[in-house]
């Protein structure tokens, strides 16, 4: 069977919003001749190239590692470069990532997300830095293993689109930022846990989380941010217990 004979027309309902002309988002339908191995992103690119050049969306690596092409596909947060068209039946609804303001069409506002990542001080904090000339810090494979999973976050923000807490309280620093803090806290090279504790222990920090676990379910990289949140809660509670007596003494 030749490939072209297997091309199937699939309807895509895409949420459009052009702030210079639309008062509110509207659904627009496109019929796209899809190849059997296409992902949703391929269909969007086809629309952009061949049907409607005014459609705007973000994308880059198309291999699930740059984190650009996050959208809602049939109501679920997805990397569109990894969401195969053949996995859906009927018309496919593509909308901008939930819980973020729409800039235009499928492009959402990510500045607040970036600020959250920064707020947890995601860098190695040490009292004394070793001179580069003296070589690397030693770290055993087992020590690496304790935080490695939490380094895999691609900042796609799907977890924020899935998080029921963030949906109602956009101040919540959210799953990816907490996982990132946890990643550095667990790194044997880092001594910044106390500084990050100040941030994680606030109301909008770990305590806002209601254990919904949605973040881990949608994470395309199996980072399991929910585990990072839960373990951070435990560590934060322990920190708190340690901090209290000292505060009482002063």
């Amino acid at each position: 069977m030749s490939l072209s004979s297997r091309i199937q027309n699939v309807n895509f309902d895409v949420l459009r919003f052009r702030p210079e002309q639309d008062r509110e988002p509207i659904w627009q339908r496109y019929e796209v001749p899809c190849k059997p191995d296409w992902v949703v992103l391929d269909a969007l690119n086809y629309i952009k190239d061949e049907i409607d050049p005014t459609l705007s969306h973000r994308w880059s690596c198309r291999m699930g590692v740059c984190g650009s092409c996050s959208m809602m596909v049939n109501g679920l947060p997805k990397l569109t470069c990894s969401a195969f068209v053949r996995g859906y039946e009927g018309a496919i609804r593509v909308a901008p990532l939930a819980n973020f303001p729409i800039v235009r069409d499928l492009v959402v506002e990510l500045e607040s997300f970036l600020r959250k990542l920064k707020s947890v001080k995601p860098w190695i904090i040490r009292k004394l830095e070793k001179d580069v000339q003296h070589g690397e810090y030693l770290q055993s494979p087992q020590e690496l293993e304790t935080y490695k999973q939490f380094t895999m976050c691609i900042n796609c923000a799907l977890c924020y689109a899935a998080c029921p807490v963030f949906a109602h309280d956009t101040d919540f620093i959210g799953p990816a930022a907490i996982a990132l803090a946890f990643r550095y806290n667990q790194d044997t090279r880092d001594e910044g846990e106390a500084e990050r504790f100040e941030i994680l222990n606030r109301h909008e920090g770990v305590w806002s989380c209601s254990y919904a676990n949605e973040c881990s379910e949608v994470c395309p990289k199996h980072v399991d941010p929910a585990a990072a949140v839960n373990r951070s809660k435990l560590l934060t509670a322990l920190q708190w217990a340690r901090v209290l007596p000292r505060r009482g003494a002063s």
């Binding site: 030749s2 490939l3 052009r18 702030p19 210079e20 002309q21 191995d37 952009k48 190239d49 061949e50 050049p53 005014t54 705007s56 969306h57 973000r58 994308w59 880059s60 690596c61 198309r62 291999m63 699930g64 590692v65 740059c66 984190g67 650009s68 990894s82 800039v103 235009r104 492009v107 990510l110 970036l114 990542l117 920064k118 001080k121 995601p122 860098w123 190695i124 830095e129 070793k130 580069v132 000339q133 070589g135 690397e136 810090y137 030693l138 055993s140 494979p141 020590e143 690496l144 935080y147 490695k148 380094t151 895999m152 691609i154 900042n155 990132l180 550095y184 790194d187 090279r189 880092d190």
Partner: protein, 535 residues
């Protein structure tokens, strides 16, 4: 300090680099050996003084990344682990499983967040260098969010925008790799170097072009033809799967021509077989390869070989820079794939490019600071006038009427580049490509755009990117046509031999309205005389 980027920094294409970063780290290794491997890999077109600087500073820069939190894979004693890579005589490639670029980029980006002195302009698309009194004074950039053209003024500018794989139809490169930095420098009169050398990576997934890392061969994977034979014994018997990329890509094409490849809907391919490595090694060392193969071709490499074919991966050429990452334009620096410094010559060795980003990125930073310290602000008036003129140019492009379509011109450019500037090249095909590109340039002037809006107008961005790609493609095709020899990745069926007497020199190309102007300059030889390149 301002960081201007058309995407959020952690989206940059370094994120897709998989295998690792080379630097001498072990007792069985030494700097001369890394230099020699690199020079031999380059088919002796790399500048030897620069390669010596590169290998010397490489270990320190990788340790610096370690101090900044990069989660390098480790040996049991806690030291950073190293792995085999193509063309390297010993294990010297540092890695973070098979997502090395991803981890390096995120570690660097996260560390940068510590410094409030770094002002980011995320999703700003640079369109032009601002030059006054023979010195670069900043850039104009399109604020993608608002559609405004802004002048970002500065005493020095460093370009780190990577390659131009999107000039070709089948590439590992991300959508953003449209040669912007090369084209912007080229249009400012800065010369590009060795543009004819385009690296085909031997192992991309058919259809998508997704990269399957060389580390899969470093860890012991085999390349097999349709007869189940490890065919590399006919081409690189002493190195086999760890031969250099140019030779492996040629070998695969030759197997295809000999009828010993598989046929598929996206062209002929061979097999990359990892099944003998076992699930444990694959999960530990190559988890991303497993994820990519499963997701994109429905194959689990633990049980089945992966279909692969050569795919455009890397530009050895770029903006002509010196050992300090300086260009010929005062105040302008460049580092990484966008530059040609040159450590890669006619063929880059895998895992040298991530290290190159670090070594020459650091050098560019130091050079730019030193230059800025001794420089002045320039006169703002004339710079803002230039920016206003640039704003008019961009404004005229937005939603402009015309008969040509972006996607159609891009497709024709892609096909012309594949035909004329592929793994094997030949005079008449290259001439046809040069001709086609010149025609496409003319048709580009008649581009028709439909999106009139200011906010996140990605059609406008695509039009600008296409213009950049046409510039880069023109530089590649014209330098390729003029080099009548075979060296590294530039292989001509009509001139199959390397001809040192005539072509042991760098190609230079400068923009001119009537067409690119070519020139040459000598290669620096220090301690290694060019020899026949055999593996």
């Amino acid at each position: 300090m301002a960081c201007v980027s058309k995407v959020y920094p952690m989206r940059s294409h370094t994120v897709s680099a998989e295998g690792g970063a080379a630097a001498v780290a072990r007792a069985d290794d030494n700097l001369d050996l890394h230099a020699y491997d690199t020079l031999k890999g380059s088919d002796f077109l790399a500048d030897q003084d620069i390669v010596e600087t590169f290998v010397e500073e490489a270990p320190r820069e990788l340790v610096q990344l370690e101090h900044w939190g990069c989660p390098w894979s480790r040996d049991p004693d806690g030291r950073v682990a190293v792995r085999w890579f193509g063309g390297m005589s010993v294990q010297r490639t540092w890695f973070a499983s098979d997502k090395t670029g991803f981890h390096m980029l995120h570690a660097l980006f996260q560390t940068s967040l510590k410094y409030d002195g770094i002002v980011r302009f995320d999703e700003f698309f640079v369109t032009k260098l601002l030059i006054e009194d023979g010195q670069v004074r900043g850039v104009t950039a399109l604020d993608i969010r608002t559609g405004e053209i802004r002048a970002v003024l500065g005493r020095a500018v460093i370009i780190c925008t990577g390659g131009a794989g999107q000039a070709f139809p089948f590439t590992t490169n991300a959508a953003i790799k449209s040669g912007d930095g090369m084209a912007i420098a080229y249009r400012a009169g800065v010369r590009l170097k060795d543009m004819e050398f385009v690296q085909y990576h031997p192992t991309g997934l058919p259809g998508t072009g997704i990269l399957i890392t060389e580390a899969s061969r470093g860890e012991g994977g085999y390349l097999l033809n349709a007869e189940g034979e490890r065919f590399l014994q006919r081409y690189v018997p002493n190195k086999m799967e760890l031969g250099p990329r140019d030779m492996l890509s040629r070998a695969i094409i030759q197997e295809v021509q000999a009828g010993r490849a598989y046929k598929g809907p996206y062209g002929e391919y061979v097999h990359l077989d990892l099944t003998h490595l076992g699930e444990k090694v694959i999960n530990k060392k190559l988890p991303f390869v497993r994820e990519l193969a499963r997701n994109y071709v429905g194959i689990d490499p633990v049980h089945e070989p992966i279909p692969v074919r050569p795919v455009v991966h890397y530009m050895m050429g770029g903006i002509d820079t010196d050992v300090n990452a300086a260009t010929e334009l005062p105040g302008l620096y460049a580092a990484g794939e966008v530059a040609s410094v040159s450590i890669n010559g006619a063929n880059r060795l895998g895992s040298n490019s991530l290290t190159e980003c670090l070594v020459f990125g650091a050098r560019a930073g130091h050079s730019a600071v030193a230059f800025a310290r001794d420089s002045d602000e320039g006169r703002e008036g004339p710079l803002l006038e230039q920016a206003a003129a640039e704003a008019s140019r961009i404004e005229a492009l937005r939603g402009k009427s015309g008969g040509e379509k972006i996607s159609q011109l891009r497709r024709e450019m892609n096909l012309a580049m594949e035909r004329g500037c592929g793994v094997f090249r030949e005079e008449s095909e290259m001439q046809a490509t040069v001709q086609t590109l010149a025609e496409l340039r003319g048709r580009y002037a008649d581009l028709g755009l439909t999106d009139q809006s200011n906010v996140f107008n990605t059609e406008l961005i695509a039009a600008l990117e296409l213009g950049h790609l046409l510039d880069v493609a023109e530089a590649v095709a014209n330098t390729a046509l003029a080099r009548k020899e075979s060296r590294g990745a530039h292989t001509r069926t009509d001139y199959p031999n390397r001809i040192d007497a005539e072509y042991l020199k760098h190609s230079l190309v400068r923009f001119a309205p009537e067409g690119p102007r070519l020139d040459y300059k000598p290669v620096t030889i220090t301690r290694w005389q060019p020899e026949e390149r055999k593996y």
